[in-house]
């Protein structure tokens, strides 16, 4: 038993898991407030990362400015997407809504490949030192940064939904749309804003992952990894999304450890979350924190 490797992998799992948690949170945000399952979440990461890349490398802006512009772009992107594509889908059956987001996902994946090419690109070096020594282990600075940013985003979400006016309006809308509307909340604005926030935060996550691994269409895989996380945590629970994300991240890396040390199958870590997903759906379909909906005729 190689404890050092296991520990290193678990730490990686925790860091990757918090990133999954952030993306899962964005997913849950959209699901909770607009009842839309966003299969294009991974493409939000992809677009954010590529747009930031375009600002930084092709226009050679300084990092903070390019980052800021990317955030503005993602926000506008989310709002426009909601207004043009998703608004006509309100009240349509679930298959139509799912298929629209799947269509968006194919479209944007192909579009980014067309515009930016299919090869991996990397950002200019942001940090001076590539890795630091922590408790006897080498950890990349970018990993620590991603962990800190993830925690920061989570804290931001907490503040936003607890204290800000828009956040409260969103919670009210998620609770009951008609009641929220009669209290003077513009449901349209809330819908658009939830897409905007989700796109923005996903964009940040995309940039962070792009810094660690480079930008390529492989980023959109995160959008699929999110499903095991949100199902595990419960589809409509923000806390569940974070917990689910961390568990899936840890699970992936544990699977990699078991695979590398004992089984030698080769790609267990990428497929293990989906086995877990099927098992959860069979025994506890509403996840750890999700609300069980009761249907009446």
């Amino acid at each position: 038993m190689n404890f050092e490797l296991l520990f290193q992998l678990l730490l990686n799992g925790l860091i990757v898991g918090t990133l999954y948690g952030v993306v899962a949170m964005c997913f849950v945000l959209i699901y909770k407030s607009t009842q839309i399952v966003n299969f294009a979440q991974g493409e939000f990461l992809l677009i954010g990362a590529w747009v930031c890349y375009a600002f930084l490398v092709e226009m050679s802006l300084p990092f903070w400015l390019g980052f800021l512009f990317t955030l503005l772009f993602m926000m506008a992107f989310g709002i426009i997407l909601q207004m043009v594509v998703l608004r006509p889908m309100i009240g349509e059956p679930i298959i139509s809504v799912i298929m629209v987001t799947i269509g968006l996902s194919i479209f944007f994946q192909a579009a980014t490949k067309w515009i930016f090419g299919a090869t991996t690109a990397s950002y200019p070096q942001v940090f001076e030192t590539r890795s630091i020594n922590l408790l006897g282990m080498q950890i990349e600075t970018a990993y620590i940064m991603s962990f800190v940013i993830s925690l920061f985003i989570m804290a931001g979400f907490y503040w936003f939904f607890k204290y800000s006016k828009l956040g409260l309006a969103m919670r009210a809308t998620a609770f009951d749309q008609q009641v929220a509307q009669s209290l003077g909340i513009s449901v349209k604005t809330v819908f658009a804003m939830s897409w905007a926030i989700s796109a923005l935060v996903s964009g940040i996550a995309g940039i962070v992952i792009g810094m660690v691994n480079g930008v390529s269409s492989a980023l959109s895989v995160i959008g699929i990894k999110v499903f095991p996380a949100v199902i595990l945590g419960g589809l409509d629970s923000i806390v569940g999304a974070i917990v689910g994300g961390v568990i899936i991240g840890l699970l992936e890396n544990t699977a990699e450890f078991v695979d590398g040390q004992y089984l030698n199958w080769g790609n267990l870590f990428s497929i293990a979350p989906f086995y877990v997903l099927i098992i959860i759906l069979c025994i506890k379909p509403y996840g750890l924190f999700g609300t069980k909906d009761i249907e009446r005729i």
Partner: protein, 357 residues
Amino acid sequence: MAGFSMRPCGDFRTTYRQDTRIFDTTYVRNAAILGIVAVALIPFVLDGYYVNLFIQISYFAIAALGLNILVGFTGQISLGHAAFFGFGAFASAWINNMTGIPVLLSIPLAGLMTAAVGMLFGLPAARIKGLYLAIATLAAQFILEDFFARADWFTGGSYGAAANPINVFGYEILDDFSFFYVALFFLVVMYLLGTNLMRTRDGRAFVAVRDHYLSAEIMGINLTKYRLMSFAISSFYAGVGGAMYGHYLGFVSAEGFTILLSIQFLGMIIIGGLGSVKGTLMGTVFMVLLPEVMESGVSALSIFEWANSTAVTDGLAYIKEMAIGLAIILFLIFEPDGLAHRWKQIRAYWKLYPFSY
């Protein structure tokens, strides 16, 4: 239903038997038979390119009909249809290579094997539905893809599996020309089976489950049984389509059955019309022809400067993919009932022309 107003004057139905006929009138039935005969003449008239397109349409259309039975008639969403399609292709090649059962028999056997696998992954459907089911089938897609890459004994792993050509009574089907008739035969048989299924007790149970599953259960329909059955039938169709695909190409590799193909299958039935057998065929034709039309469109535009730029010529594969996504989105927003509905409207328009009110 638009169909009612379309009936000729004086054609009243007095029995249930008359009301559940496949073809509304004798004229429609004769037209359909004539249409099949006309299609059968295609290889004599048009060149190999169109014959190849038709063969593609036929195996995709069979698999897409399976998906429509599951999604359009039973209301269960599946994102893993391409994996079942691929499983059928591998299964048929495997049965044929291992046991020497003739290909013509191994195709339906592969369908049955795929049905068994489909039921296995359909088991969660006994408890979950809608969105959760979509995600479960997404997991099935990835698990099966992983299985194709891993199971050397079954799929040949990264080398792929060789599939023998179809052998009809000692006559080897090697070229497109003769495979065309095999494809046409399977297409007609599977579509007739599909249409007939919807006229049976089980078919009506599927529709009841789709329309309201709780009411259906209260009326005495066994939900678990029918959901599993729908998965099995859908996978059977996917398996048969996949097996034809495998034996047509002569070689099956694990790479071809990605989530993108699953989405294309869903695109076919959405563009064609959910819950319409005829629409499935239309949607498949649309989906297969879309990239071809785009390709010829781009080459027709090459008189212009911009169409010759590397951005267009190199990115053509991506542009085609974008077109698939865009077609799905546009149909869902502007024509959610699909081509089948549009076809009905066009027919009604001409029937009543010029007095459309």
